[in-house]
């Protein structure tokens, strides 16, 4: 019995060391609860984040996204539940965690007369193995405003400076709250590329956002938080599909009844308009429908498929759940 246990744990730790197998969670959040007076900001939220992934937290304003990440970074003390970062506690092991955790706070200003270059140099001095301040400023496109004071920066420049301060310490985990708020479309895309570059170097990223295009583009997995509760946790594609996102419109060579269509794996909805049939569902819908119909001798033409839309899913999922109701699409 003991031998088996030892062998099991030995194999587990071996697989963690292998660079490809990043299966061990970097961050584990268990039953997190945070109240402000009578208001329950975060209500029994649990999830885990794998090392090296970009984990998105989406949800409407005031849903508890920021409070959740503040509990992870140790800025807030949860009322109950726990957070573990590589086995460390954000409260008890705060000093250890702050060395490898980079944080970008939502709405955090700097001393008005502090210059961009000074801020980055200052933060570089806080860490044992920082990135080169000049290179980082260059990458973020703010090297030419190195000598500008904070009070004279535009919203986008402030945002880039804030991102650079989160990354200057060369962190293993970066928490980015409202990453591209205030940036113009071009700067947003550049920032996305930057974040992907960070992920490719093995940094685990937690991204709080209310932009669905950003979540779709960057995140490996998404947690939707609504009224303090975890609504859905899945890949952006799967969440998009929950809105009945995957759609396939076609014209059958001969009439097909609804029962036949609903029997096809993945189909969740059927609509008819004139000679067109539109089925909605999950997975590889086109392949599944075409193959199943071909087996009963029905051919399809005029095919039009479109992928799930995360925006639609977001609206649907956040409207569906009334406050303090655990019913719905919860998927632990």
């Amino acid at each position: 019995m003991e031998g088996v246990e030892l062998l099991g744990s030995f194999q587990l730790s071996e697989s963690v060391k292998s660079p490809k197998a990043k299966t061990e969670p970097a961050i584990i959040v268990r039953n997190l609860v945070k109240k402000y007076g009578d208001f329950v900001a975060v209500n029994d939220v649990s999830f885990s984040i794998k090392e090296g992934e970009i984990f998105g937290i989406i949800g409407p304003n005031g849903a508890g996204k920021t409070t959740t990440v503040e509990c992870i970074s140790g800025l807030r003390v949860p009322d109950s539940g726990s957070v573990s970062i590589f086995g460390l506690s954000p409260l008890k092991d705060r000093n250890k965690i702050r060395k490898f955790l980079g944080v970008q706070l939502q709405q955090s200003a700097m001393p008005p007369r502090l210059k961009v270059g000074e801020a980055v140099e200052l933060f570089a001095s806080f860490y044992s193995d920082p990135l080169d301040p000049n290179d980082l400023l260059e990458t973020l496109g703010i090297k030419d405003i190195k000598n500008s004071m904070f009070k004279n920066l535009s919203g986008g420049q402030k945002q880039r400076l804030s991102i650079s301060l989160a990354l200057i310490g060369n962190p293993r985990i970066a928490i980015l709250d409202e990453l591209t708020t205030g940036l113009d479309p071009e700067a947003r895309r550049e920032t996305w590329t930057l974040i992907e570059g960070i992920r490719d170097r093995g940094v685990t990223v937690i991204l709080v956002t209310h932009f669905m295009d950003e979540a779709e583009r960057l995140c490996d997995r998404l947690a939707l938080i609504n009224h303090g509760k975890l609504g859905v946790l899945d890949t952006p594609e799967a969440i998009a599909a929950l809105a009945g996102g995957n759609r396939l419109r076609f014209v059958p060579s001969e009439p097909v009844d609804d029962k036949t269509l609903y029997a096809i794996p993945g189909v969740t909805g059927v609509e008819r308009k004139e000679r067109y049939i539109t089925v909605t569902g999950t997975g590889d819908l086109a392949m599944s429908v075409i193959n199943s119909l071909a087996k009963i001798g029905v051919h399809v033409s005029d095919i039009e498929a479109r992928g799930g839309n995360l925006d639609d899913a977001f609206v649907k999922l956040t409207k569906e759940e009334p406050p303090n109701d655990s019913r719905g699409v919860a998927k632990p």
């Binding site: 706070l105 200003a109 007369r113 570089a124 806080f126 860490y127």
Partner: protein, 261 residues
Amino acid sequence: MSTIGRNQKSKSDNSTGHFSELLKVEGKLALRTPVGIGTGIGLPVILLIVFGLIGNVEGGTVGNTGLTIIDLWVPTIMVIGFIGISISALPITIVRYREIGWLRRISTTPVPVSRILAAQLVINLIFALATILIVIFGSELIFGAQLSVGIPYFVLSIMLSIAEIFSLGLVLAAVVPTQAAVQPITGGLFFLLLFLSGLWIQPVQVGGVLATIMYYSPAGAAVQALLYSVYNYPPPYTAILTMIGYTVIFAFIAIRYFRWE
């Protein structure tokens, strides 16, 4: 991203590396912010010139003190410098840092947020020392004050004055919640302390209950101790004990109520 190299200057997270960087940055910020220099050094310089000129024009001594106007006002001007630094510059900066989330931002880094406060105190201490030197040498060399500074008495009085007045500044930094509130509160207190320090009239000139109130106020006790010290007399025990008492009370309140966010 691969273009971003590690920092070539192998920076370490030892306490001196980041603290000297913090001092450098806080020092630059203080020099760029007019209020600190203005009230901490500018005001004493102006007062020195004003009282120096009055003394030269009027001549003679004040009452039965045997001291000229500039002789008598030297400690007051010095203490007003400390008040300017610790009642306006220090709390305004700390309250701002807290309100804009700068202290909170620092608290997410490996550096303890208390280091910012420490850097602020060091920078303001340097300003206070500059004020002391300007007032002593300015009054003697330019306006002919006849000081005979007793170094041990003077060092003791200066240390207690600064401890007491800086602690009062930290009380303001601790209990005043917003930048909007800090200006009127520090402004009102600033003028009260200027009066108690004897700027308009010295306690020896008023006598009676008002003089006693002045002597036992935070500003007046400091002025009294310094007045004895710059003429090489031991400062009165009452002044010493008054300053120690205020320091203990102010420090207790500041520590008890200080909030980082």
